[in-house]
Amino acid sequence: MAGLTMQGTPSLRLPGEHFAAALVFLSVGAIGLIWIAPELSAGLYLSPHVAGVTHCFTLGWLSMTIFGALYQLLPVALGVSIRSERAGHVSFWTFAPGVALFASGVAFSSLMLRYTGIALISVGVLCLVINVGLSLRRAVKRDVVWAAITIALSFLTLTLVLGALLAENLHAGFLGNSRVQVLAAHLHIALLGWVLVMIVGISHRLLPMFLLAHNADTRWTRRALTGLAVGVPVLGCGLAVNHRIPYVTLPWIGLLLVEGGIACFLIQAVLFFKTRKRPRLDAGLRHAATALIFLAATAALAPLVLISGVEHRNLDTAYVLLGVLGGLTLYVIGQFYKVVPFLAWMARFRDDMGKKRVPTVAQLYSSRIAHTDLALLVVGIIGITIAVMTGIEPLARFAAILFAIGVALFASQIIRVAFGTSLAGVTATPIPTISRSPA
């Protein structure tokens, strides 16, 4: 696999180790979901167990995958290589154990694990931000993708600062009653500012490429980014301080802007899907399309959550679950299905391409299992959301089990892609559209 490099990309080991660790954290998070199902159904989102498992998803799965994808996609998306591959490895080897220690420290209330974890995470994140930031400086093409990555990195840094503040507060308690407000700000800046903005930017490049939707109007991405870039800080400040100006509070202004940004992103995605030249959607794109529906549902739920306030903990918990599992996790799983098999395919068949008949990327995994895992994940997410909203503990646990089985199937697919050897149905296709140039 070491040979799999394109001009400017790091060796496959760097994104590979990130993707592998991300998969482990997703699996741990899915099992943790079964464990915390009773607390979730009781709306106890401030429980240390819930916080620990949540960080498996947010830091371990979502952030780790984005880190790996950034290293691989920067040269493709922006034509610029990563500044230092070594710094990328340093980032990984501090961030990955950091997340494990921090999530454990939070879940089991261990001060030492928390401190060690947050220190390692900080080093890992700073390495990445500086490394990618320096790479972005060299980029010739400074388009919306460049802007999205830059904005997302800024929000990641802000998320880290707020996270460290909250972690210290667990010990010192200096935030007092403001803790929940700061937590809400931290959560929204992380999920909307860091993860969603990155998704918006990366999707701008990947969705038209995978859907063959080159004729779509692409102006909505810029609008989405503007809404999110302005709205997230306003919403974050509003949630943290709940500042009130005449007739309207800051969180509502922020929410309005963020909702506008999400709506623009969804419109952009719909335009890509509608103008696609590839009528049949594969498993990865179906995961992504389903995730967009969950994202819309989460956005629709947001005003209700803001109106009801912190007293309706079950609604708050369900809202976050729907967003993290349905909107973001499922979308990243969809992109995982597109990117990881492609990289594995490149590594395995690079020397044979053009000389021998090689299988398609889709043949590296089972489409049937992929669709089964999608069904299980969707039922699990819907089930756990309903269970949390209604406070039905058995349903929450059952839905969490379905979700975990879905994750297990997905993980088995990726393991098969990375290490599998048996490939069936190898076919060759004729070379298209070759013509002599006009005289």
Binding site: Q7, P75, V80, F210, F342, I434, S435, S437
Partner: protein, 285 residues
Amino acid sequence: MKPPVNPIKASDKLQSLFERDERLIDVMATQSPQLAKLRNSPIRHIMARVTTVAQAARLCNMSTDSLLRQLNGVLGIAIPPGDTSESNEVSDHAEDSSQLPSFTSAVELDVREALSKGGEPFSRIMAAIAALGDDQVLHLRAPFEPVPLFSVLEKRGFGHSVEQHAADDWSVWFFRQNTLSTHEPVPAQIQTPHSTNVPAKPSDDVADGGDARTEVWLDVRDLEPPEPLVRTLEALESLSADAVLVQVNMRVPQFLLPILSERGFHFTIDESRVNEVHVRIWRNA
């Protein structure tokens, strides 16, 4: 007693002039449209650091002597005739440093539109230079002869070859100096890559009668990755030695390029069209 005032020399950087007297910005800016950009603060900040008086004179097609007299005149310094011999040395230094060597691929960078909109392309050029492989050349298209760049890049080991297409249309090829010893000089035809609105022709092409090469076109825009990669490599396997494959893509096929190099193909990339990239690929001679 009044201290002696040093006259401005041909080798002085514009920045030192402007620090000395801001009126010199206007003097320089009125010399030519290219130097008028010095009124723009960000551009001045970059350009003045790397441009000497001699280079500026060359940019506006005037003698260094005459420019030096004007500048020194503003400062009230009279230059005796024949006292600017250094200027010619510096100016001549900016001539083509050598002939263009043969290369594996050309990286195309057109900064004409960016400059016409008041943009600052220096960082783009330096980024392209930084990413340049040993066997690659940077083909820069600019509305004027980018003289200041020559000395900047010379210090980094890059030679250059210049061709003027029109008064506001210049081609400059930058290449690593150390490749010179192992490569043949390039025939003259290579220096007009855009004259027929097609991507740059390879040097080997020309040597082999490149204009007579058969073009095989492969449109991969409606194929999902990695099909463009597979189809292109399949097509190349059967490509005859006297043919060139023109891949029409939506973007630069980043995963294809290193494989082409490994398998002994040459290529050029033309990104001059909107949403359409042409990659010309041919076998090594």
